[in-house]
């Protein structure tokens, strides 16, 4: 492998490590007793140091070296990691990011704050070391070459509780063990009575198949057991009194450093929840998974090809000539093909799905930073981190979420704890971040228990800003949506009075770019919820196929409220203001699709067609189409940059017959 390639790999790995540093530090602040997190941090930083030095990235190596010292000090001592230290650590991560960029781009000098942050780190360390026993720093003085050796310690050591030691027991029973009246089961029972069995490794490679196996013979030549116990090796040896000396082996696993690992809680998920959850679903938190890195463009290509496969398959399935064959074999094959195609499509889709956890983890830092800045105490509650979301969306979601969270912290939550007390709330503000499935969509909510939105103030400002009309009646959600409008936030004082409206139009644009929508719920004095609704994946939407003047169009079902055939008595025409339909006492405008798109005038009378009631940020209206064709999942394709600005059409989809149907952009129609 050439140097450039190696360097590329290093950069990727370094970025991965750095990404996790932020998160680990915040995690540690939340769980200050979990020194395991510090260990993990230390390991990451150590690896980073090693490879930085081997690439001649001296500045990075130097900085990381000191950071590592600091981490090592805290992981091996009982000293409390104060909030100030966390601040320094977080800044250090920012510096590491910047230095890496300097190294990669071969810039001269050091990034801003490099020296100062380095100094801060050294200050922490020197302050701590003064008058305190010298911490065991031998680890980081080892040459960077043999990281592997250094960390070749048994990971189970970290699972030991107070006073426990780790003992490794190897069972090497002969074939005739059952015959002699012994069984591994008996020994497991006896061993388990001496402590906690953490892990065992069974060599099952000698087991033959069912036809040749002799159950009376033992085919398990070796089982290694790791026991966490407060007893001595000699006590354990007593268990094996009657077994041949060469059939077992017991030894103490040495702890390399004299480090204390007061692990307060056991790993939560290893304790099988009793009751509902079947044990086979048990998942260990640290269960090793193996991953393959794939270039996302390759995934996209695969996805496109599968899209074509689905289309080709549909074509076969809908082909009259084939179905007229009435050949059972052919029909069956086509059916199987259809099943397999769908299976492949689902699997390929799932490749694009990743848990939203990483994005949510990043938000913890955002909350921390922004709450410090405005000097408010904020408690962040995160739910639904395992919700899976399209990879391309995850990347694009971070910015709008950061914006919403900052907005909640800055403006949603009351300015001071006193204000909250007066309102009868806890002094610390609560911000919650939730992800969950809602219908065929993914919902992501940012909520706060702050001041809520003052409807009247918003409406007044919206009218001043010419966003709203003074004569019209607006629903609450319509009023709230004004704060997402461009031009609203230019009102200087609005954010102070209402607590909302700082550049939220940016968020709206982002979300719409992802074919999603954003809803706002608020109660004055109680709090506000911003809900982002996104399609499951960027690539596929659930669509309603409609026909107008012979052409097929697709309306995203996300926007559809209902559809109906109107009767004459609910139709109204307002002079010069177009047509309306009275739907349960609500007057909804009618948009005739054929007129809107400049198609022919050859549409049926309204009472013989269908009105599709849709909703966008401006409220509800109805679209008049000749007929509904059906509901279908479609793969969204862009019409290319040449047609990207067409405001009525958001894209196209290739239908089963290979032809293209256009997808209506509900937000651009009315």
């Amino acid at each position: 492998m050439d140097k450039a390639k190696l360097k590329q790999i290093f950069i990727e790995e370094a970025n991965e490590i750095i990404e996790t540093l932020d998160i680990e530090i915040i995690n540690f602040e939340e769980n200050p007793n979990d020194k395991g997190i510090l260990d993990q941090l230390f390991r990451g930083v150590h690896t980073l140091k090693g490879s930085a030095n081997s690439f001649g990235f001296g500045r990075l190596g130097e900085f990381v070296h000191h950071f590592e010292d600091a981490l090592d000090y805290f992981r091996t001592s009982d000293d409390e990691v104060t909030s100030e230290v966390i601040d320094v650590f977080l800044e250090a991560v920012d510096i590491i990011k910047a230095v890496l960029e300097y190294e990669v781009e071969e810039y001269e000098g050091n990034p801003e704050n490099y020296e100062r942050c380095l100094h801060d780190i050294q200050k922490i360390l020197s302050a701590k070391k003064d008058g305190l026993p010298e911490p065991d720093l031998s680890a980081q003085e080892a040459p960077t070459g043999d990281i592997a050796n250094e960390f070749d310690e048994n990971p189970l050591l970290s699972k030991l509780e107070n006073e426990e030691k780790l003992i490794e027991i190897t069972l090497k029973f002969d074939e005739d063990i059952y015959f002699r009246g012994y069984d591994h089961g008996t020994f497991f029972k006896l061993i388990s009575e001496e402590g906690r069995i953490l892990e065992s490794t069974w060599d099952m490679s000698k087991v033959p198949d069912l036809s040749t196996i002799d159950i009376q013979k033992c085919y398990i030549p070796k089982i290694t057991i790791f026991l966490a116990t407060t007893k001595e090796v000699a006590n354990i040896e007593e268990i094996f009194e009657f077994v041949e000396a060469d059939e077992f082996d017991i030894k103490l696993v040495e702890t390399p450093a004299k480090k204390e690992a007061p692990q307060e809680e056991e790993e939560p998920l290893t304790q099988a929840p009793k009751g509902k959850t079947p044990p086979k679903n048990q998942k260990k938190k640290d269960e090793p998974k193996s991953f393959v890195k794939i270039d996302t463009t390759k995934l996209d290509e695969l996805f496109d090809s599968v899209g074509e496969l689905v289309i080709a398959q549909n074509f076969l399935g809908e082909n009259r000539k084939i179905s007229d064959l009435e050949d059972e074999g052919v029909n069956k094959t086509i059916e199987t093909l259809s099943k397999i195609t769908r299976l492949i499509q689902n699997r390929v889709m799932s490749l694009r799905m990743v848990p939203i956890k990483d994005t949510f983890d990043k938000m913890k830092r955002v909350v921390r930073d922004s709450s410090k800045k405005v000097k408010k105490e904020i408690i962040l509650d995160v739910q639904g981190e395992d919700t899976e979301i399209d990879k391309t969306m995850v990347d694009k979601l971070a910015d709008p979420l950061i914006h919403l969270i900052r907005n909640s912290v800055d403006h949603g939550i009351e300015a001071t704890a006193e204000d909250r007390k007066v309102a009868g709330k806890s002094p610390a503000g609560n911000v919650s971040l939730r992800a969950f499935h809602k219908g065929g969509n993914i919902a992501i909510e940012v909520s706060d228990d702050g001041r809520g939105i003052n409807r009247d103030v918003i409406l007044k400002k919206a009218i001043e800003r010419d966003i709203a009309s003074p004569t019209e009646e607006y629903t609450d959600s319509q009023v709230y949506s004004f704060i997402l409008q461009a031009g609203f936030s230019t009102a200087e004082k609005i954010s102070d009075i209402s607590g909302r409206g700082v550049g939220l139009d940016v968020v709206k644009n982002f979300i719409e770019g992802l074919h999603g929508k954003i809803e706002i719920e608020s109660e004055l004095g109680k709090g506000t919820t911003f809900r982002i609704l996104l399609p499951l994946t960027l690539a596929i939407i659930d669509g309603m196929l409609v026909r107008s003047c012979g052409d097929t169009y697709i309306i995203p079902t996300l926007s559809i409220v209902e559809s109906f055939r109107p009767t004459e008595d609910i139709l109204h025409t307002a002079q010069g203001k177009g047509e309306y339909v009275n739907l349960r006492d609500e007057l909804l405008p009618i948009v005739r699709l054929n007129q809107l798109l400049g198609l022919s005038e050859d549409a049926p009378p309204i009472t013989e067609g269908t009105l599709v009631c849709v909703e966008n940020e401006n409220g509800r209206f109805t679209i008049f189409v000749d007929e509904l064709v059906g509901r279908q999942q479609v793969v969204i394709k862009s019409l290319g940059k040449a047609l990207a600005k067409l405001k009525e059409i958001s894209g196209g989809a290739v239908m089963g017959n290979g032809e293209v149907a256009l997808i209506l952009n509900i937000d651009g129609i009315f």
């Binding site: 090809s305 074509e308 032809e659 293209v660």
Partner: protein, 170 residues
């Protein structure tokens, strides 16, 4: 000595340009072969509302949706019934694929430098500004199209050009 002659030969080879020739009405046009992605038989396109008349619509090219321009409409020629020789030439322009409906495609020809002449100022059926040069090959006159000129940066955005048209109409 021999080395020199080979180099000269190479040089002269390098000067040859290759063009795909195609017909609109009875005139022969050439398209730089490097821009041509592929040629396919005419297929159904989906009309896109609110676009200029020369945009025939969009079509599915192996899963991707691309715009299709009717070359005759673009050059303000009379429309003609399509037949089995009508073809769509897929061309890459400024990073986008665009299909062009032409009466028929002929062949790929090589044009040497000395076969070019300046474009005519008049007498052609299409606006001469789209013709970058002329080539005379085996007694045929081929007008070399400059598609980058056919769609200026602005015009490639089919919508803008339409709005402009609308304005001029109004």
């Amino acid at each position: 000595m021999s080395d020199v002659s080979i180099t000269e030969e190479k040089l002269s080879l390098a000067k040859v340009d290759r063009f795909l020739t195609l017909y609109l009405e009875d005139e022969q046009y050439g398209l730089d072969i490097n821009m041509v992605k592929e040629i396919i038989a005419l297929m159904k396109t989906t009309p896109v509302p609110k676009t200029p008349h020369f945009l025939e619509g969009v079509m599915n090219l192996r899963g991707n949706i691309i715009p299709v321009v009717n070359m005759r409409s673009k050059f303000n020629m009379e429309t003609k019934e399509t037949d089995d020789r009508t073809a769509i030439v897929i061309v890459g322009i400024q990073g986008s694929d665009i299909g062009f409906i032409v009466d028929r495609v002929e062949e790929v020809i090589a044009v040497e430098e000395n076969q070019y002449s300046e474009p005519p100022q008049f007498g052609t059926k299409i606006d001469s500004e789209f013709v970058s040069k002329m080539a005379r090959v085996d007694n045929n006159v081929i007008m070399i199209l400059d598609l980058n000129k056919v769609f200026s940066e602005k015009e490639l955005n089919f919508l803008d050009s339409f709005e402009e048209e609308e304005e001029t109409l109004a």
